[in-house]
C-alpha cells in the first residue's frame, strides 16, 4: 500500500501530453493558473520518470519568477548520504501534491558535512527557507558492531555530535528550520535475535541515534522526518538495495523514491500549514456496511460479531482518533436527513455521535455542491477537506469538480479503509497542543452559535455571548500554537509573514517588538487562541508598525478586531507612540482584509487598490469604542521596564 501510494488516483494515460501542455503555457509566459494545473498533475501515483517530467516543468515555472500564486513557496536544501540527485526533483514534484511550490537544491555528492558546516561554501550561500539532513548509518559511523556498551555509546555520542554541528550550521542559513530524517536500521542480523539484547550492535547504535534525533525534535531544535518508520512500512528488506548502493550509491531502493518524497513533502506541508483540517465522511458502505435507507438500523453491518461489522467499527474509531487530535469531522451523504441520522441516534454500537460531527449534510444533491456548503459552514477552504467515500463514481465527480479536495482511492475491502486514509499523510503535524485537541469541539459549538444568531439582533446577540478577550504577550507555553497560527492563517492575515517557531521565540525576546496573543471565551466555550499580533516599535520612534496581524475566521463578526486595535493603541500610547501604521500585503487568499484598516478608521498613505497598501492611524484622535466583551490583560503588553529600555 505505502510503496505504491495506493491512496492516490491512477495516472491518466495522457500524463506526458498534459505535462507538455503546461510546459508550453510556461514557455509562452502564460503563468496564471499554472500552479493549479501542476497540482492536478501531481495528484496521481507518479513513478520516477513522471516525477522527473513534472519537476522539470515546475523548474521552468519557478525560473520564470511568477508573481505570488495560490500555493506556498519554499526553498528546500537537501544534504545527505549517497546519491540524492533523483530524490531532489522528486521532492519538488511531490510537494505540489501538498500545495507547495518548492525549489529543491542538493549539496555536492559526498560533502554533506562540509556543506552543512561551511558558512561560505556553495551550499549555504544558495539561501534556503528549510534544510533537510538525510543521513544513513554509514555516514554517521554507526556501521559496525562495537565490543562494549561503552564503545557503542561513544559511537552514538560522536554521531550525535556530528549531526548537531550540521544542524547548527544549517540553522544559520535556513531560517524556517532544519528537518532531520531518522536513520533506517540496516537489514542484516549479526547474532540474530540476540542483536536486540546486545548493546554494541549496529541495530542498537541506530536506535540510540534515533532516540537522540527525537530528543532534538522535542526540544524544537529540528523537525523530525521519520524515514525509519517509512522504511518499516514497506519493510527494510525492500528498502535497502545493496546492488544500487554498490553501483550508484543510491541510499535506498529507487522504486521507493515516490514514497520517500511524499514523506518529506507532507512534513514540509505541516510546517507550512498546508495540511488538511477536516475529514468529510460518506455514510452508506463507508461508515457502516449496507444502505441505511434500505436495510434500516437493524440491517446495517456495524459492530462486533461479523468481520464486516468490525471493519466499519474500525473506520469509525480511526475517524474518532483523528477528531481527538483536533481534526474536524463532517458528514456528506446522499440520504434523507432524518434517515441518515438514525444510526447515530439508535444504533447501539455506533461510536460516532451526532455531537462529534461539526457539519452534517444529508440530502439528494450532488456531493461537490454539498462539500462546498460544508466548507462554507465551517469557514474553512476546500483545500482543508479530505473526502472519504467508498463509491468510485462519487469520488470521480468530486475530483473533477473540486480538485482542491483530497479524495483518497479506497480498496474493495473496508478492512483497509483506515490504513489507506491514514497512510496518505493528509493530517501530518509537527506539533501538538491542547488547542488542537479542543478545536473539533469549537467548530461544533460554532454551529450552535450560528443557529442562535439567527434569532436576535446583532448587538443583543453579541452582548448575550458573555465574551471575554484575554490579551498577553507571546510566551513559551503557547509558542507552538502561535507558530502554528502564523503559518496556517491565510484569510484574515494582513501581511502573511511566516515565522518558524524559533523565530517566534526570537520575537518574544526582541526588545524592539511587542507581541500579543489573544484568546476568546464565551458562554459556549473556549475558542482558544484566535489572534496573533506582532508590533514593531520603529526604533523607539513616534510611529509603531503592525508587522503581523492575523485572526481566526471562526470569530469574525464579533467585533474582536476593534478590541485588538484598542489594545494595540493602548500599548503604543503607553510606549510613547503617537501613530500606528499597518500594511496590507495581498496574497491569493487574504482579499477579505483588503479594507481591514479602512474599516478601523486608518487613512491610506501609500499604495493602490489591488496592490500593497500602507495605512496610518493618529493615536491623538483615536478613541476606543465600547465593546460587547470584557477585556482580561493578565500582563500588560508593555511593562515599565520595556518603556525604559526603549
Amino acid at each position: 500500500m505505502f510503496a505504491e501510494l495506493a491512496w492516490l488516483e491512477e495516472v491518466p494515460p495522457d500524463f506526458r501530453a498534459r505535462v507538455k501542455a503546461v510546459r508550453a503555457r510556461v514557455a509562452a509566459g502564460t503563468l496564471a493558473g499554472v500552479e493549479e494545473a501542476l497540482y492536478e498533475l501531481a495528484l496521481g501515483r507518479l513513478d520516477l520518470n513522471q516525477l522527473g517530467q513534472l519537476a522539470s516543468v515546475l523548474a521552468a515555472y519557478t525560473a520564470a519568477r511568477p508573481p505570488p500564486g495560490p500555493f506556498a513557496r519554499v526553498r528546500l536544501g537537501v544534504i545527505g548520504s549517497g546519491t540524492l540527485g533523483m530524490v531532489e526533483p522528486a521532492i519538488a514534484a511531490t510537494a505540489l501534491r501538498h500545495r507547495i511550490v518548492a525549489t529543491v537544491v542538493g549539496g555536492d555528492y559526498g560533502s554533506a558535512v562540509q556543506d552543512a558546516i561551511d558558512p561560505d561554501g556553495r551550499f549555504r550561500s544558495i539561501g534556503f527557507d528549510l534544510a533537510l539532513i538525510a543521513l544513513d548509518h554509514r555516514t554517521l559511523g554507526l556501521d559496525r558492531a562495537r565490543a562494549s556498551a561503552a564503545e557503542a555509546d561513544a559511537a552514538v555520542d560522536a554521531a550525535a555530535g556530528m549531526l548537531g554541528a550540521m544542524i547548527d550550521g544549517l540553522a544559520a542559513s535556513a531560517a524556517g528550520g532544519v528537518l532531520v530524517a531518522t536513520i533506517v536500521p540496516p537489514v542484516e542480523p549479526l547474532f540474530g535475535s540476540f542483536d536486540a539484547v546486545e548493546t554494541g550492535t549496529v541495530a542498537a547504535q541506530v536506535a540510540g541515534i534515533n532516540a537522540r534525533i527525537a530528543g532534538l525534535a522535542r526540544d524544537k531544535r529540528i523537525v523530525l522526518v521519520d524515514m525509519a518508520r517509512a522504511a518499516a512500512w514497506v519493510g527494510i528488506d525492500r528498502w535497502h538495495d545493496a546492488g544500487q548502493w554498490h553501483s550508484a550509491k543510491l541510499p535506498f531502493d529507487p522504486d521507493l523514491i515516490p514514497l520517500y518524497a511524499d514523506v518529506v513533502a507532507r512534513t514540509v506541508a505541516a510546517i507550512r500549514g498546508t495540511t488538511r483540517k477536516c475529514l468529510v465522511l460518506d455514510l452508506d458502505n463507508t461508515l457502516w456496511g449496507g444502505v441505511i435507507g434500505d436495510d434500516g438500523v437493524d440491517g446495517i453491518a456495524l459492530g462486533q460479531g461479523s468481520a464486516k461489522g468490525e471493519a466499519f467499527l474500525a473506520v469509525q474509531h480511526a475517524a474518532l482518533a483523528l477528531r481527538a487530535r483536533g481534526i474536524i469531522l463532517a458528514v456528506c451523504s446522499k440520504n434523507d436527513d432524518d434517515v441518515a441520522r438514525t444510526p447515530f441516534r439508535d444504533h447501539p454500537d455506533m461510536p460516532i455521535k451526532e455531537s462529534d460531527v461539526a457539519a452534517f449534510v444529508a440530502n439528494w444533491g450532488d456531493k461537490a455542491t454539498n462539500l462546498r456548503a460544508i466548507a462554507a459552514a465551517l469557514n474553512i477552504g476546500l483545500d482543508a477537506l479530505v473526502f472519504l467515500d467508498d463509491n468510485p463514481v462519487e469520488r470521480a465527480q468530486v475530483r473533477r469538480e473540486l480538485p482542491m479536495v483530497a479524495v483518497p482511492e479506497l480498496p474493495a475491502d473496508p478492512a483497509l479503509y483506515p490504513r489507506t486514509l491514514l497512510a496518505a499523510g493528509y493530517f501530518e503535524a509537527v506539533a501538538f497542543a491542547q488547542e488542537d485537541r479542543d478545536r473539533a469541539y469549537q467548530y461544533a459549538a460554532n454551529a450552535e452559535r450560528a443557529a442562535f444568531a439567527g434569532t436576535s439582533d446583532m448587538g443583543a446577540y453579541l452582548a448575550s455571548l458573555d465574551m471575554v478577550a484575554d490579551f498577553r504577550p507571546f510566551d513559551a507555553v503557547n509558542r507552538a500554537r502561535i507558530a502554528q497560527l502564523i503559518n496556517k492563517s491565510n484569510q484574515f492575515n494582513l501581511t502573511t509573514r511566516r515565522y518558524a517557531e524559533a523565530q517566534v521565540a526570537a520575537l518574544e525576546a526582541d526588545p524592539t517588538k511587542v507581541t500579543l496573543q489573544v484568546r476568546l471565551t464565551d458562554r459556549f466555550g473556549d475558542n482558544g487562541m484566535i489572534s496573533v499580533i506582532v508590533l514593531d516599535r520603529g526604533g523607539g520612534g513616534a510611529t509603531w508598525e503592525i508587522d503581523t496581524w492575523l485572526m481566526s475566521c471562526r470569530v469574525l463578526g464579533r467585533r474582536l478586531e476593534e478590541a485588538v486595535l484598542a489594545r494595540i493603541a493602548a500599548a503604543a500610547r503607553s510606549g510613547g507612540a503617537s501613530a500606528l501604521t499597518g500594511r496590507y500585503i495581498p496574497s491569493a487568499k487574504n482579499k477579505m482584509v483588503a479594507d481591514h484598516y479602512a474599516k478601523l478608521g486608518f487613512e491610506c498613505i501609500d499604495g493602490d487598490a489591488g496592490g500593497e497598501t500602507v495605512w496610518r492611524l493618529d493615536l491623538g484622535t483615536y478613541v476606543a469604542p465600547d465593546l460587547p466583551m470584557r477585556i482580561d490583560a493578565t500582563t500588560s503588553p508593555v511593562s515599565k521596564d520595556d518603556v525604559l529600555a526603549a
Partner: protein
C-alpha cells in the same frame, strides 16, 4: 522475443525516461545520441526496463553496455524462452 522486438519496446519507454520527443532509436543508439541520458537518468532507465520486462539486472551485466542493441541482447538472455 527478437532483439528488434525488444528494441521497439525499449524505444517506447525512452520518451518517458528521457522526457524527449524526437528520438530515432536503433540498435546503435547510445548515451552519446541522447543529451538527457546522464548517469542519473541511466539509473531511471534501467529501473524502468526492469519493471517493463519483469527482470532484474546484475550490475556486471549492464556495466559495459555500449548501445541499445547490447542492452536488448542482455534482456533477451534474461527473458524466459
Amino acid at each position: 522475443m527478437t532483439v528488434d522486438d525488444i528494441i521497439a519496446k525499449i524505444a517506447g519507454v525512452m520518451f518517458d525516461v528521457f522526457d524527449v520527443d524526437d528520438l530515432d532509436v536503433t540498435a546503435a543508439t547510445s548515451a552519446d545520441d541522447v543529451e538527457e541520458w546522464d548517469s542519473l537518468s541511466h539509473i531511471r532507465f534501467i529501473i524502468t526496463l526492469e519493471r517493463l520486462f519483469k527482470i532484474k539486472f546484475l550490475n556486471e551485466e549492464i556495466a559495459d553496455l555500449k548501445n541499445v542493441g547490447d542492452l536488448a541482447r542482455v534482456i533477451q538472455a534474461k527473458l524466459p524462452a
